[in-house]
Amino acid sequence: MVRRFTGYLAYRDPDERDPGNEMPEFGDRVDKDIFEQILEMDENDPDREFSKSLIFGFFKQAAETFGKIETALKEKNLHELSRLGHFLKGSSATLGFTKIKDSCQVIQEYGNRHDESAGDVPDVEVCLQKISAALAKAKVDTEELEILMNEYFQ
């Protein structure tokens, strides 16, 4: 199937969309526009090898990063926590995985001993607690999303 490459760039009336390529419903877990950009990179490939590898590459990367975050939490290495948060925030943002990105943002900020509104947090323990909570949330979100993505790419 050949589709206009520039289709996503131009303003597009929703009625013009090919119903067969309807975006899956991920709710507020995924930024639709960004995820659509990813999907459109291999829209000519029925197997979606490119986006599939990206998405599942991400889940692998996320799992590794979560492991590193846990280690850093044990070592109370805030600097490393901030770096790891920033790292995973980058890729989750690129793919449009909004919820995961938000948790990573929290990890990054508290790693810098800042709260969500950039105020200083002097207590290291408070930071570590917040990071643990954000990590737990990120893990759950990632697992749920992985299931949805598995269904989508079947």
Binding site: F5, T6, Y8, L9, A10, Y11, I34, Q37, I38, E40, M41, D42, F50, S53, L54, G57, F58, Q61, R83, H86, F87, K89, G90, S91, A93, T94, L95, G96
Partner: protein, 744 residues
């Protein structure tokens, strides 16, 4: 008379009477009874400078008339009356002086000589000198000194001249006073002179004060409103003089003149002048505004046109239109600035100012236009505050002007920009910014007029360097508006100039201040400049057409372009790679940290057309990597990919030597715009300065004469140059001049 008769009696022994008459040291004339001159003494002939023939046998009156100067019939009449009088009374009479043409005035003593009742002769003895009152006949009508002055004062109508007694009560009154103040003599005598002053002035005791001052200094002069009897007022010049008689203070003399007419003429002149100045400024401001609107339309159209598919030659021409338009717009903006500054309607905004970021960004914007022989040196004093409060646009405008001048007039050597704290107190901080160049310098004769409007150094430079000559004048006014100064001195080390200016900023006390201001600023930007917003959300149907066109163009050039993508996150790397490939970029090298990127770029300095650089990476971050690439003298366009949303962070990317930035997650439309800008619209960084200049120089020829060779060339190479400065200007939102704000 008896002497005369004795001398004339015959038979008396002695010298010949004729001889005696002739030699007597008296200017004598003897007349016949018919007033004909019969004899003149030698002294008379000498003193009147005439010969005997000139007067003897002549009629007295016609003789005298010939010598009158000026011709005053009254004088002659007086002489006639005098002689008649002498004859009728048979007694000597003295006439009034007669002015002769040789500058001496004479009066005649008329002595009639009778032999019984018969008139024998009339003798005139001429005496030199003005009229002496003591000589006057008491019956002659005349004036005493007192009379003369009294009449004079009374008669003068243009001046109110009157005396006050020691208490300030009116003692005399003249016609002028009556006319001017409308009080009759009877009404005013004995009244206090404060009657002429306004109630307010009486309340503060001004009349008494004037008298006191007058006693101390001898006189007082004042100009102000005075009031007439009917309550109307006039603008008066008043002189009060203390009057003494025999050392005793007896009162004050007061002379009042009506200057209402002169005053109103003055006011009319001043009003007319102010009105014409205001009209001129308004006119300039309106005209500039009217000119700018279509200019913007034209420039926008040019930009849109450049985004379409054009042949290289068409692109050349549109670029010239766009570039000339930009220059013209700058000239118009200068004039608008100037007229606003001179009319005082220029306002300074209050916002957060990052001195270092402005200085570095200005330097960076000018740098690409410099020949390779000119080095830029930037010194930022470590004690510079991170942020202060002031007008960032106006600070930048001054700096841009001064640095731009330095760049314009420097062919080789170095331009040094130095910013430091000049002085500071608890609340404010004065920043000194100095720009030193090794350029052509300023001739001594021009130093005085450097900051005057419309003056360029000399006619020869005007030809070589375009501009309105308003820049420094505007910079001066702006510096003064910011509580600072601007100045020039010659470069002490080498040929060249040092321009410096100061500007005072408020210190920022705490973080919440910054947040407030940023919010305010953001709100203002959003409300006043919807056009800017539109630019960041190019999803409107109109915007996407441009994107489509640009993408088409990109797809033409992408196969031959070589890119370097620097990104540590594998996922992001893959996504970027995917996006680039989808546009046809197959030649994309990868680096996963800054150190690798530096190694790759330095290894092949001309290999990459563009570098896409992540900021936070392990081993070496994007900023450090960019600095090292720039330090190696490689000008490849570097676009930062940054997840930071804060404006300041993005500016800092530019400070580190990057050309542009794109926010993460990377939006494809935005990516297309950035790629288009740096791969299609900019001159290739690999070209030398000379090549760029040659390109610019040849373009006018290309206009009149088609040169097919250009068509045959690689289309990318002939894409014309937008000066890189303007690109950086656009990359940095802060640089937009914010005219809309000014108009409000």
């Amino acid at each position: 008379m008896s002497r005369d008769t004795r001398a004339s009696s015959p038979g008396t022994a002695g010298p010949d009477i004729g001889l005696v008459f002739s030699l007597a040291p008296l200017a004598l004339l003897v007349l016949s009874p018919a007033w004909r001159i019969t004899r003149a003494s030698a002294r008379f002939l000498a003193e009147w400078r005439v010969s005997a023939d000139d007067c003897i046998s002549h009629e007295l009156l016609s003789f005298v008339e010939r010598h009158l100067h000026p011709t005053r019939p009254a004088h002659l009449t007086n002489l006639i009356t005098c002689i008649d009088d002498a004859l009728s009374t048979r007694a000597p009479r003295t006439s009034r002086p007669i002015n002769t043409h040789y500058g001496v005035s004479w009066k005649a003593r008329v002595v009639p000589v009778f032999d019984r009742d018969e008139l024998l002769s009339i003798v005139l003895e001429w005496q030199e000198g003005p009229l002496d009152y003591s000589d006057l006949d008491p019956t002659e009508p005349g004036l005493t000194n007192d009379d003369a002055f009294r009449i004079l004062v009374q008669a003068v109508k243009d001046y109110a001249i009157f005396l006050l007694d020691t208490k300030g009560r009116v003692a005399t009154w003249n016609a002028g006073a009556e006319l001017l103040k409308r009080y009759t003599r009877e009404e005013i005598l004995g009244k206090h002179f404060s009657l002429f002053y306004s109630k307010e002035e009486v309340d503060v005791g001004k009349p008494e004060m004037e008298l006191e001052l007058c006693l101390r200094d001898g006189r007082v002069e004042d100009e102000g409103w005075r009031y007439r009897k009917d309550g109307s007022r006039f603008w008066a010049n008043v002189i009060i003089t203390a009057v003494y008689r025999d050392g005793e203070h007896v009162g004050f003399g007061k002379v009042t003149r009506d200057l209402t007419e002169r005053k109103s003429t003055e006011s009319r002149l001043i009003a007319a002048y102010e009105e014409s100045e205001k009209l001129k400024s308004d006119f300039l401001a309106n005209m500039s505004h009217e000119l700018r609107t279509p200019m913007h339309g034209m420039l926008s159209a040019c930009t849109l046109l450049l985004d379409t598919q054009l042949s290289p030659r068409q692109r050349d021409m549109v670029s010239i239109m766009e570039e000339s338009g930009q220059v013209l717009l700058q000239v118009i903006n200068d004039i608008l600035d100037y007229s606003k500054l001179s009319s005082g309607s220029f306002s300074i905004h209050s916002d957060v100012v990052g001195i270092t970021s402005i200085v570095t960004s200005v330097v960076r914007s000018v740098q690409p236009s410099l020949p390779p022989e000119v080095h830029f040196e930037l010194f930022l004093s470590p004690d510079l505050p991170r942020s202060v409060r002031g007008d960032p646009l106006r600070y930048r405008q001054i700096l841009q002007n001064v640095v731009g001048n330095a760049a314009k007039f420097t062919d080789k050597g170095a331009i040094r920009v130095r910013a430091s704290v000049d002085n500071e107190d608890d609340d404010t901080c004065t920043i000194l910014t100095e720009v030193t160049d090794t350029g052509i310098g300023i001739p001594n004769s021009s130093v005085a007029s450097l900051f005057s409007p419309f003056v360029q150094c000399d006619a020869t430079t005007t030809k070589n360097y375009k501009g309105t000559g308003l820049g420094l004048s505007i910079a001066k006014s702006l510096a003064e508006l910011m509580g600072g100064r601007i100045g020039y001195r010659p470069n002490p080390d080498r040929h060249g100039s040092i321009f410096w200016f100061t500007a005072r900023f408020d210190k920022i006390k705490n973080l919440s201040d910054i947040r407030d201001w940023t919010r305010l600023g953001a709100a203002r930007d959003a409300s006043s400049n919807p056009a800017k917003k539109q630019d960041t959300t190019p999803s409107s149907p109109g915007g996407s057409v441009d994107i489509d066109e640009m993408l088409k163009e990109l797809r033409i050039v992408s196969p031959v372009k070589s890119m370097l993508l620097v990104e540590d996150n594998l996922i992001n790397q893959k996504v970027m790679l995917g996006m680039l490939r989808s546009m046809g970029f197959n030649n994309v090298a990868l680096a996963s940290n800054g150190a690798d990127a530096v190694r790759m770029v330095r290894g092949k300095p001309a290999a990459y057309d563009m570098v896409l650089m992540d900021i936070s990476m392990p081993i070496m971050d994007g900023k450090q990597a960019t600095r090292e690439i720039r330090d190696a003298g490689i000008l490849v366009p570097i676009v930062a990919m940054t997840a930071y949303a804060l404006k300041g962070d993005q500016e800092r990317c530019l400070e580190h030597g990057m050309n542009d930035y794109i926010a993460k997650p990377v939006d494809k439309k935005r990516l297309i715009r950035v790629l288009g800008k740096w791969l299609l619209r900019m001159t290739d960084y690999r070209k030398t300065f000379d090549e760029r200049m040659a390109e610019l120089r040849h373009r006018p020829d290309a206009l009149c004469q088609p040169t097919p060779s250009i068509e045959a060339e690689n289309p990318l190479e002939s894409f014309s140059a937008n000066p890189v400065s303007s690109a950086t200007l656009h990359a940095d939102g802060d640089l937009d001049r914010g005219w809309e704000d000014d108009q409000a």
